[in-house]
């Protein structure tokens, strides 16, 4: 049993943070998006698009930072299809998201064959973002949490900043208030002269950027190449994290940490073979945890009132 407890160490916390990063990013995006009233199940597809373009740009420029930018821009652009479809064309949010997920597989498969000549996994990039790991002076020396929070790679830090930024954005800024109103009572927002459409576009854009960043993390920071299907349900887990976190940035982050922990734990269980059962029983652990957490926490909080609802307004000049 000594072997069993030895897996609960500092490294487990480091791995938890690393594995939760993509979920955190997408979950915060989902929070902003759903607070504005748009359900975005396309995040899985946006992540794939972001991951792929990050690798392509990094591969051709040799610069992973440009790759990061490429992933974010590609994710943002792809998310705009969701915005146009749901906001301008009044398509059902879940339907549009599902279609975009399907489209993302197609786009990536096609471009992969055109660019790399084969589907599957791309050629590795010369230098990944993992090589830019840096320790924050002093803070990284704090025992236990120091290495986990302050000796990490760039996008991990970016994910912390994202959480803090959108926590403040939603709670303290005027635009944040407008975004929340767009999901809570869109008509009231429109009455005070703020465009619901604009706020909702903004919110979808935010989710596109964060999901694109999450994708870039998967491909050029946590790895050095892109593999089809590498997002592996994380976009949906992020949705679950947002719901379990009660539609707040900080809650989404905590829930994402939990899912990251579940993932880190299952990997250690597999490696150290703590129980004589097939590895797959460990692999499914994060998925089971997601179901349980969503089922257990969903009642505690209230979703935005107008989430998933179409907003259509009759205007004279339209």
């Amino acid at each position: 049993m000594g072997g069993f407890f030895s897996i609960f160490n500092e490294d487990l916390l480091v791995a938890t943070i690393r594995l939760s990063t993509p979920i955190t990013l997408a979950a915060v995006g989902a929070t902003v998006c759903e607070r504005a009233g748009i359900v975005n199940i396309a995040m899985e597809g946006i992540m794939i698009i972001g991951a792929f373009f990050a690798v392509v740009v990094a591969y051709y420029t040799g610069n992973p930072w440009l790759g990061l930018l490429g992933g974010v821009v590609a994710g943002a652009l792809f998310s705009m299809i969701h915005a146009v479809a749901t906001i301008t064309f009044h398509l059902d949010h879940v339907v549009s998201g599902a279609v975009l997920n399907i489209l993302s597989f197609g786009v990536v498969r096609y471009l992969m064959v055109i660019i790399y000549g084969h589907p599957g996994t791309t050629e590795p990039i010369a230098k990944g973002l993992a090589e830019y790991k840096f320790a924050v002076p002093l803070l990284s020396k704090i025992p236990v949490i120091g290495p986990a929070f302050f000796n990490q790679t760039p996008i991990v830090y970016l994910s912390f900043l994202t959480v803090i930024f959108f926590l403040i954005f939603l709670k303290k800024t005027k635009t944040g208030l407008h975004v929340r109103a767009a999901g809570e009572h869109p008509l009231a927002l429109e009455t005070i002269g703020v465009s619901v459409v604009k706020m909702r576009y903004l919110a979808v854009l935010v989710s596109g950027i964060t999901s694109g960043l999450a994708g870039a993390y998967l491909s050029i920071e946590n790895s050095v190449s892109f593999t089809e299907g590498m997002s592996n349900g994380r976009g949906f887990i992020a949705l679950a994290a947002n719901i379990s976190g009660g539609w707040t940035a900080i809650g989404s982050w905590l829930a994402s940490l939990f899912f990251g922990f579940a993932d880190a734990l299952q990997i250690r269980f597999q490696i150290f073979k703590v129980l004589p059962i097939p590895a797959e029983f460990f692999i499914i652990f994060p998925y089971v945890a997601t179901v349980l957490v969503v089922a257990g926490l969903v009642r505690r909080s209230r979703p935005p009132k107008a989430v998933g609802m179409d907003f259509m307004i009759e205007r004279e000049e339209d």
Binding site: I41, Y110, I114, G233
Partner: protein, 414 residues
């Protein structure tokens, strides 16, 4: 009096001609199309005898009108696909010729084989949609159905007339039971089925690997690894026996798929069960006011959707593969969603959209082999078709714009 006597005869003719034409067409005897067209004509004659002329004309017009958006969407997607091919340096005419010839003529049997599981998963998604639920995890139920079918297929040694129905029923029921948990969580806690069924799909995918090893799969051997084969007696009958010229792999699962689609359509449109499902999907508050239990219908819809998706797995195991492959990204769930959305959740429409999807895949492979144009273009064309058909509002939006501009122009002229 004469009319009343004629009607059942005509109806029998419709079914007979339709069935014969369908089977002929499926086994690549394309003159079967004439039988099908004759059946359609007879059907409208039957409707004409049952009602009056005006109603029939209205019905035909409605039918044609329902076809316009799909036709526009597919045509637009073909044009966009051609532009994409031109940009990436392929010859679109050569590509489309190979795609259509491969998908609808040369490798038609592969199209049918591809389409069969999609009919079931498409029906599954469409049925849940009718209740306002999104069964995004049909792939998971597919795996559960396939696992049970493999297990029973290996161990159930009885005359096939008993075993095949038992395997279909049992696998479907277990797959339905697999959807019990998402339904329970939805009703008891409000957990969204998009998340729960998706997570359950991932779980089923990984459990299938465990199952395959348990059933004789060797993970150290070839990749993908497979279970032991099922008993020969439990194979679905194949068309080869009746039509010797047909490809030996073509099995009768497609007929089961079509029959199930017709059955689902009947349930949805003609039974109280279907009425309640649709009522809950259409307007839950109004349904509740009518005394229809929402929770009960969520259970019914998700369990039945699970049952249908499970049949897709049975069909692949008993009909095509005769064993279970480790295939962690087969995509029957996602393609089922596409097929259901394309058909606007109409069970009969699902048959056609599934065949379209299957034919695009088969044609794409043929195209890649013969004219060396990557079949990945097909994935893009599929995505664009789907988007253009699903976003129906685009057409009315464009229509309104045009109308508005004309109006402005005429006002300006005054």
């Amino acid at each position: 009096m004469k009319k009343a006597k004629l009607k059942p005869i005509i109806l029998a003719g419709v079914f007979l001609l339709g069935a014969v034409g369908l089977i002929l067409y499926i086994v690549s005897l394309f003159y079967g199309l004439f039988f099908i067209l004759a059946a359609v004509a007879l059907y409208f004659l039957y409707r004409w005898l049952s009602t009056d002329k005006e109603t029939v004309i209205v019905e035909i017009r409605k039918f044609l009108k329902n076809l316009t958006i799909p036709v526009i969407g597919i045509s637009a997607a073909i044009v966009i696909g051609a532009i994409i091919m031109l940009i990436s340096g392929y010859d679109p005419i050569k590509a489309y010729r190979a795609l259509l010839y491969g998908g609808f003529v040369k490798n038609w049997h592969i199209s049918i084989l591809n389409a069969t599981p999609l009919i079931f998963t498409g029906l599954s998604v469409a049925f849940a949609f009718k209740a306002g639920l999104f069964n995004i995890g049909a792939e998971g139920q597919y795996y559960v159905g396939a696992m049970v079918a493999t297990f029973l297929g290996i161990y159930l040694g009885m005359p096939p007339i008993f075993t095949i129905p038992i395997i279909f029923l049992m696998s479907g029921l277990v797959a339905a039971a697999y959807n019990y948990f998402p339904a329970l969580l939805k009703v008891k806690t409000g957990a969204h089925e998009v998340i729960t069924t998706m997570m359950f799909a991932h779980i089923a995918r990984y459990l299938s690997s465990v199952f395959i090893r348990w059933m004789g799969g060797d993970s150290a051997g070839t990749h993908p690894y497979v279970t032991n084969p099922i008993l020969d007696a439990n194979w679905l009958p194949r068309f080869k026996g009746l039509f010797p010229d047909t490809n030996y792999r073509l099995h009768t699962g497609i007929l089961i798929g079509i029959a199930v689609a017709i059955f689902v359509n009947y349930i949805l449109t003609k039974t109280k069960f279907g009425y309640e499902i649709r009522a809950v999907g259409h307007n839950p508050q109004a349904a509740r006011a009518q005394g229809i239990s929402i929770g009960k219908n969520i259970f019914r819809a998700l369990l039945f959707a699970g049952f249908l998706a499970g049949l897709a797995g049975v069909n692949q195991v008993l009909g095509l593969d005769h064993k279970l492959f480790e295939n962690l990204s087969a995509g029957y769930g996602w393609n089922g969603i596409a097929v259901a959305l394309l058909a606007a959740n109409n069970p009969i429409g699902v048959i056609f959209t599934a065949i379209l999807w299957g034919a695009l895949d088969a044609g794409g492979q043929y195209m890649a082999r013969t004219v060396q144009i990557s079949n990945s273009i097909v994935e893009i064309i599929k995505g664009i078709i789907l988007f253009l058909i699903v976003a129906r509002y685009i057409y009315s939006w464009v229509g309104n714009r045009i109308k508005r501009r004309k109006q402005l122009a005429s006002e300006g002229a005054k």
